[in-house]
Symmetry: C2
Subunit: 456 residues, 2 copies
């Protein structure tokens, strides 16, 4: 049996654990399954999405884009780097320092923190179309607040969605009619069990770019409160589509909400919609605004946001100050580093590393997403199996990698991109060889990854 | 005009501000009203609930139970001390240190933090009836997850509530039939604008102690998924009622959820239900579990919690590690200090200070709440006006005070309780005199406080 006593003195491994686990991280993951339904609190952090039986699962330390796992292995992170949240890299010194200052000064109090007003001023300055803000601590909760405000402002109930907007009832209810309604909006197979069936029909999905369906819906149904959408997802933003959506929403007095939980404060310091020339009525920011510290913000026009006064939206932990402190410091640093440009350049180099490795191995690759949010797939009859092997073999080269590789500021440190190129060239070269000999199974030491939601 | 340039260099006061504001805090509050609908992110932090025109509103620093406002005034906090969240006092050194350790080690990563498993073990150890956990970052969001799991587990929709459970649709929908349904459950006048009318009838309030109504409801309606209640609120917990609720829920296969966002980890290290002898199926913890760092936890039996696997509940910021680190440190310190007993003793001294001051001034006082969550009212034909004057005059004595005075560990430091006694004796003595001469209006320098929710 593995000895956990030093690294995890509180940990009690299961009796038969040595039989099934290859590492402390895997052992702890088995224990987590007994204590936490689904093992992790974010779907995207499940080992089953990477290389189920060899993925390190847990970390002891993370700095920049380097991660040390529980067994002392050191990896460069070329996956989504904190599922897209930490664009400056892990344990950024400036964010840590800003947060520590708040902790020492008292981050929660009977009175309010001036930082929440300061951040409100900053967000309004970055988005001149908006005048007011509300905060939360997760993107999903922020989206629920946006929906509440849109419904309160219009007195209507229905919502048209386009994209991924979290776990809350209002969103998942789109799958009550058929569990496939949300397929194609990032995650497949989202089960709406526990969402009251009374909500069926209130949330209607529309495909990105399908202006005709949107027009028809808005013309036919006069109970639509809002259109909520990710302005940019797999193919970047579509200027023409966004302006069509804007026009239709204005025509029918429907609130237009952009969800920039993923796209905001990445290529652009603010919502990426600022580049598109289309302003929404409300815009949601989440994980990208504070480099790993819980924070979310909703900005909007005064006329829509004032509806928040007519409904009860209130929570104690929205009023602590490390969230605003981290966001203010992050925004300052985003501007100082010209982070948007850096992330695009890093994305180009990541794509170039992948493309070059594929070219020299005779593999055919296609890219998706924006440069800063690169995903790729290689043409093969069993891509999930090949991808799992890719993750397993990259781990052996000291790199965490999957089919999504999000740009990070810390990828520019200490030759990380060069190491990535070396590793991926070697790994894809060998994978091409195994594939040509139909030998993938011979080298795979784990079950194949899954990608859709389900019981584990 | 006030000079904000030094203390708030980013702040642009309104042109006519000097006319209406008595302090920097009040000035900033006016500005906040233009930027944030409702000015604050927690209803309980509005100046309108204390002494609208003189309340300091914002703070620069807070340590223990001492607060420095933006104008450099120093106060002892004898209100709810962080609206009940910071029982160890502000900027607790051990919590700060545990959080700082996580920041430096990287608090969010592509991999998971072992601390979330460690906290799960600890919560299960403290509550032997429970086997599994889920986390969030606010009590309100945690309650929504509990409701989702209860509905998924039973396949039913309706919820019986008893107490205050936050701002989400499932809860506020109780007021769709009549806006008075939730009156008596902590907050009055909660407007459900923006909650879809389709949810009407799904959430049914029952009064604490009213076992007969609960029985009738559960017998008549077979679509009830859960009873969610605060096991202890204004009068402490009622052993008999809780065991009756437990029995009825078990009989009808209804999930029993205790919401211990306010009562948990205060008098008892864990849910206060552990003292009552009644175990729920799920139990919610929120602001009291981490002394001011965003964190919330749901514990429950394996059979109910496993339903979380059949529905999608996922958020990035639930996976960062400062929340679990703060909770683990807080629980350790709660046990080490025997905090529950200390808070009860402090509460007795606070009540004693109030009672003694009232006795010597000839005022008649009644107490409500548990010792650690004391509230009081003085018999007077215009108690809101008298209370507002009390707050105003206590401020002049260097004490923040209202009709709720929650016990805090830091109240035991540096003679804080003695200073409270001196201040309250002086203030209530003078208030009794003003009241006897019908002169309250002559000394009141602010509008009278409100207590119910509404537009500001």
């Amino acid at each position: 049996m593995l000895d956990y006593s030093k690294i995890l003195p509180w940990y009690k491994p299961a009796a038969n654990e040595s039989l099934k686990c290859v590492s402390k991280g895997q052992g702890l993951y088995q224990r987590a399954k007994e204590l936490i339904p689904g093992a992790t609190h974010l779907f995207g952090k499940r080992a089953e999405l990477y290389a189920p039986d060899v993925w390190p699962c847990y970390y002891k330390r993370a700095k920049g884009c380097t991660i040390w796992d529980l067994d002392g292995n050191k990896y460069l992170d070329f996956t989504m780097v904190g599922i897209g949240a930490c664009t400056l890299g892990y344990a950024d010194r400036d964010i840590t320092s800003a947060v520590h200052k708040e902790l020492v000064s008292g981050n929660l109090c009977t009175l309010n923190s001036p930082l929440e007003v300061q951040l409100a001023e900053k967000l309004a300055e970055l988005h001149p179309w908006s005048q007011m803000v509300r905060y939360a601590r997760t993107g999903g909760e922020m989206a629920s607040i946006a929906i509440r405000i849109a419904r309160a402002s219009t007195g209507k109930s229905k919502i048209i969605i386009c994209g991924y907007h979290g776990w809350h009832d209002w969103y998942l209810s789109a799958n009550l009619a058929s569990q496939k309604c949300l397929d194609g909006h990032l995650l497949q197979g989202l089960q709406p069990n526990g969402v009251p069936r009374e909500l069926q029909g209130l949330t209607i999905p529309v495909k990105y770019g399908d202006a005709d369906s949107l027009k028809m819906l808005l013309r036919a149904d006069h109970d639509i409160a809002a259109v909520v959408m990710e302005p940019s997802r797999e193919q970047g933003y579509d200027k023409v589509f966004l302006s069509q959506v804007r026009e239709e929403c204005s025509r029918h007095s429907v609130v237009l909400i952009f969800d920039e939980t993923t796209s905001g404060f990445r290529e652009y310091c603010g919502g990426i919609h600022m580049l598109s020339g289309t302003a929404p009525d409300l815009c949601i920011f989440g994980k990208t605004i504070s480099n790993g510290i819980p924070m979310a913000a909703l900005i909007g026009t005064r006329s829509v946001m004032e509806a928040a006064q007519s409904t009860f939206i209130s929570s104690t932990y929205w009023t602590e100050s490390i969230g605003p402190a981290a966001a203010l410091e992050f925004i300052k640093k985003h501007q100082r580093l010209n982070l948007g440009t850096v992330l695009e350049q890093v994305g180009e180099r990541i794509r170039n590393n992948i493309q070059t490795a594929c070219n020299s191995s005779g593999l055919e690759v296609t890219f998706n997403g924006t440069k800063a949010l690169t995903s790729f797939s290689i043409v093969h009859h069993d891509w999930p199996k090949m991808l799992t092997l890719f993750t397993q073999m990259m781990m052996n080269q000291g790199v965490l990698a999957s089919d999504r590789s999000y740009s990070n500021y810390s990828h520019t440190f200490s030759g990380a991109l060069r190491k990535h190129r070396t590793a991926i060239t070697d790994v894809l070269g060998r994978i091409a060889l195994y594939a040509s000999r139909d030998e993938l199974d011979n080298v795979l030491r784990t079950r194949v990854k899954t990608s859709s939601f389900g019981r584990i």
